[in-house]
Symmetry: C3
Subunit: 342 residues, 3 copies
């Protein structure tokens, strides 16, 4: 089971409850009153646990699993171990997510303000906000109901945070308006000056950065990420977008809704990213360009020009992923030919 030193299990739950939350169909032979104690990965689950199979790369783990209950796609039922109770759904990973949340609901605030937190008398703190040891909340900040402000986090003056938002330990937020149900993980830095200088041989002139950071509802930002505030316009992250660890978002960038921005991605100043764009790890976007809705940017890809909606690109400089794959195949072929000659 999930380590009780770190996690509180809200279970057990009946098979019926779990199937309902999962939106999955219970196998005909299963007892719906059966009790399930926990969610666990295929390799660790026993008869009283529910597990799941989504990525077919882990089919062998499924076949060898001792899980009592498993959430799977209909086409996998035939290879299931004997005696395993199957919950079938076309989207096992989504279903598992909802079941895991049933057992381990998200933390929300309940009004515990640590005596070791430093909250300015002129900050506006709603009921049911948790503020942990060492956190600082400056004057004029507004924090909505259900928020959790982590240990040694810093909320600077005037920052506005919606409801049920979590700010991680050692995270600092300034010059920002943040929505509801946002999660910002440990060590991220939000709202500092953008990188704006007028270059000069006698010393670069600093340009004051007079915009803000606007973060929509349901955004999640990983650990040690950095989101600079705008230079004049705002930096914006749209509803439901998910940013991973160590991502860098420069000033004036607009990220649309429901984007997937993975680890160590960098987005340069004033670039616009459409809704549902996905960016692979360590990829980067040049400044002042536009990435169309639904475009997919490969890992480590370096994008110097606009990308049309729905396009899939890879390589540096970025080119259509099919072209990039053919180039690589050509290189491999040339290497083999050369080897034969040698």
């Amino acid at each position: 089971m999930a380590d009780p030193r770190f996690f509180r299990n809200a279970g057990p739950f009946s098979l019926k409850d779990i199937a309902e939350v999962a939106g999955a169909e219970i196998a005909a032979n299963a007892e719906s009153t059966r009790i399930v104690d926990d969610v666990l990965p295929l390799q660790l689950a026993s008869s009283n646990h529910v597990s799941f199979l989504d990525n077919k790369k882990y089919k062998e783990d499924f076949i060898a699993s001792s899980a009592g209950v498993c959430i799977i796609a209909p086409e996998m039922t035939e290879i299931a171990p004997a005696g395993m109770v199957l919950l079938t759904t076309p989207q096992p990973y989504h279903a598992y997510g909802r079941v895991a949340l049933l057992f381990y609901p998200s933390a929300i605030g309940s009004g515990q303000i640590s005596p070791n937190a430093h909250v300015d008398a002129n900050a506006l703190i709603a009921d049911d906000v948790d503020i942990k040891s060492g956190a600082v909340v400056e004057a004029g900040a507004e924090i909505g109901s259900g928020c959790v402000i982590g240990c040694n986090a810093v909320i600077r003056e005037g920052v506005v945070i919606g409801t049920n938002t979590q700010i991680g330990a050692n995270t600092s937020v300034s010059h920002a308006i943040i929505g509801n149900n946002v999660i910002i993980h440990q060590g991220s830095q939000i709202g500092q000056d953008g990188y704006g200088f007028a270059m000069s041989p006698s010393g670069h002139v600093k340009i004051p950065q007079l915009g803000r950071v606007i973060i929509g509802n349901d955004v999640e930002i990983g650990a040690n990420a950095t989101i600079d505030r705008g230079a004049g316009p705002d930096t914006e992250i749209g509803e439901g977008s998910k940013l991973d660890n160590l991502v860098h978002v420069a000033h004036n960038v607009k990220i649309g809704r429901f984007c997937i921005i993975t680890g160590q991605v960098g987005i340069s100043g004033s670039t616009e990213v459409g809704d549902f764009v996905a960016m692979g790890g360590q990829s980067g976007l040049a400044g002042h360009i536009k990435i169309g809705m639904g475009a997919q940017i490969g890992a480590q890809c370096g994008v110097l020009r606009d990308v049309p909606p729905g396009a899939k690109v890879a390589g540096t400089p970025a080119r259509p992923v099919q072209q990039w794959l053919k180039e690589f195949a050509d290189l491999e072929r040339a290497a083999k030919k050369r080897k034969t000659k040698e």
Copy 2:
């Protein structure tokens, strides 16, 4: 206008004052006593605001702007909207920077030490230093006049900081000598051990890191950057160099004066970077190499060997940018040819 929750406007100012600070020429037909309330981007400015046009990519925004006053290059005056007052200068971005600073001057300390800060009795704190809630200043540290030490920042023992320097929230500084007018943004880590190990199949031996970090005047370092201290020699960052977010500077590195080191750049140990070098985002330098004065390193470029002064390189491994562009053009041509054949 800039959001008053976050910014204090020192204006309004007269057109004459603004032109003087900008070093720009006022159009003949303009009233120099005209009052200007704020600086704003072209798209947001109204008749009582000053804006600017520098990057010609935003020409359309200029033509459509309602800004009352605009700082522009002389060659752009012909396409200006009717009624807009023009301040002309060959360097509009520099001029805008100085005007924005007139309205929004940099924060400097004024002697406010928070009762929630933890300042050792044996630290040497000048007058007019601000130390914010939760900040720690250890014994033997010296902090010069006008400095601002952010919330939950940590200044370790013996660290020396000049005058008017700003240390961001949740930033830690150890083993460092820092100049005047330096800005280190939120979450940056300065002075930790360099990555020094003697490799061995029975366990890598840690090499004590006995140098320091020396940071010159007018340096700016972005959020969540890391500057390791030297192994024996010092790590040095020269006067006026500007480092962006998430930059990594390894032990013994020497960065010259007025360099431009953009987001997520990595510089390996003992490498020397000359004055006025510019490095694009996510580029990296191998260890123990020399980058000549004024060299330009492209985004995501991987530099394995010395780069001569003034050279422009791109790609991994780095090669002259002209060669790299031609290689790419060849690949594009080959892809088209292949497509025709198919």
Copy 3:
């Protein structure tokens, strides 16, 4: 000498003591009672100091050095400056490391808990633990003897830390079991949620992350690195592995023993890295792949598929380093040919 504001010198020591710790042979003509005051780099050392030469790139510094004593490989003795006392060993860098540690031993805790630290009454703190100003230790955490918890560090509930482990300033640790003699530098974030979402056009569903981070003995983790906890399985870092600054380790990753993971590397979810793997700066591994024992991954390399044990790969996508070098040689040749034609 190492700056006394930052370092405490435990010396002086006799040449005999130094040779013994170094495991090096003293030159026949040397007085073994000679007193040595400090360790210093070749360029800074004087007659009362010991220095070392390992990387032959710095041979000129050796020839010009005024160091009284030097640790070197036997084959270098012939070019030594007259009068320099030589300590010869086949592994000068290892020997220097041990000597430097003699003069500057690692900090370990001695039972100093700052009155400004916030330690929960239900945390289990061994004797001889140092907890510095502003650090937070939550209920249920266990910290072993000799540990040092840095200023404004955060140790969340239930975290277990072995003996003689150092946690840097502004570092946060949650959901983690950490071994002995571990060093985690400033600003690193350990144990936050992995990046787990079930994608959906109506909003991505967050998957609760129910695993932990397990860190073996003698691991070192640089500044501002991020180690996510597992989604269900744990994230694991094996004994003696060394991670540099700004490294990103995603959920469920298994890193073996004695790996060398340099600056800004990214490792995607569920990937397995064998023992003694070395990864160059800014390289990245895709998710769900296996890197064999002793493999070497070049700087900025992007690895999309399994890598066999002992293989050396470079480029994106990764290919054998010999092939990659030949491709580059071909490109250089083509560029020259093109130039001749023009």
